[in-house]
Amino acid sequence: MSDSIQPDKTLDCTGLTCPMPLLKTKKMIKTMESGQVLEIISSDPGSKNDIPTFAERSGHEFIGEKDMSDLTHFYLKIK
């Protein structure tokens, strides 16, 4: 499913550790409009918990994640 997602913006957090990917995500969302899709790339295994939990709490729709070697791509649809 996540193969077909076309993100409007991409946030590369490679090499950053908790809590930086989450804080950068929050900041990026502020600049986006409702319905747009944000792609977040993270190398921190902690993001696998943090980003879906954040989505659940904040109301943005978590539409998928995919693993590519040691990076994970996450997709959020802005509410």
Partner: protein
Amino acid sequence: MKIFKEIIANWYSKVFYVNWSIGTAGVLIGITSVLVFAWERPWGVAGGLKDLGDTFFYMIGIYANKPNSPFFSTSSILTIGLFWGAFASALMSKQFILRKAPTVEIVKGIIGGSIMGTGAAMAKGCNIGGFYVAMSAMSLGGLCMMVGLFVGAYIGIRYLYWELEHYPSSHIQKSRKKNKTRFLKIQPYLGTIVLILAFITMIIYSQNAYTKLGGLLLFGIAFGIIMHRSRFCFVRFFRDPFMSGEADMIRTVSISLMISIIGFAILKWTGLRDEMVYVTKSFWIGGFIGGIVFGFGMVISGGCGSGSIWRAAEGHLKLIFCVIFFALTTSLVNKIIKASPELNQLMGYRVFLPDYLTYGWSLILLIGLLCFLSLIFTWNERTEKFTIDI
């Protein structure tokens, strides 16, 4: 035979591929904290790092007196065990990779580690020895550190937001030359070897009449595995209420602490263990100010005493630097504080709550306080009154 293979593969994946829930981990940490005290002494992390720092400074000729050998000090054995266990666990779950970080982040690791080292020296322990265990031991200094840690984490979050506005750190470019899949595949075997080596070390200690030290190594390893598999992060206890509003870590650590407090009370009240163990000499300046300093440092570096170690064991370069600088500064600042009787006295007194309140009321007070904290931060989870917006 095929069915057995399937069952074992399924169990392995449940233990090493699926993250453990932090609730389970919190209960396990509470129980292990009591068991390790019953075995020999309470858990600690910063003391071990200090021993390793002392050894380093002695070896390069800065300290004149020979410190305890890290292989025979109960503190450093626990800390080495924590690293050992997390390293084995990272390998078993195919998560060990040297994870590079942008230069700014490395610098934050070094600064954060040094700040934590300073705070831990003031509070007579990191968030484990100075807060978690000190609180379990019903030390008023532990409560002071908790308050300080909240304040420090709040300042730290404010700083991180400011940094994001003005100096946002960039990501690093990944080099994609090497094929790492083969290394990932053999990791579970390497992890098994690392764990077997731990048992062999335990046997060697035991045969030389150091069974207690060998046991402490295994307890350290248990903490390392529990923390790594659940990605247990004490920083979140202090930081999340202000950052994201989440309170699950507040509830988890509160329950974990209740188990540990009750266990410690049983061991001390019955006279099985000395009452003053881990009643830290940190009421109130050392605990409170040290807590603020430590809390700020742990938010900057993204890992507390124990969290930095298990993340370093997973290969995060930032946290590897953080742990090294933590060990060096905590050793130095400890020396400075110990060298001056006035400064040492300024850090505070040992206050054992049951001396003033009796065991019963101390238990009611501490457990009541944890319930209150959970309640207030769960309320904040819904209302976000304390949460700072970015």
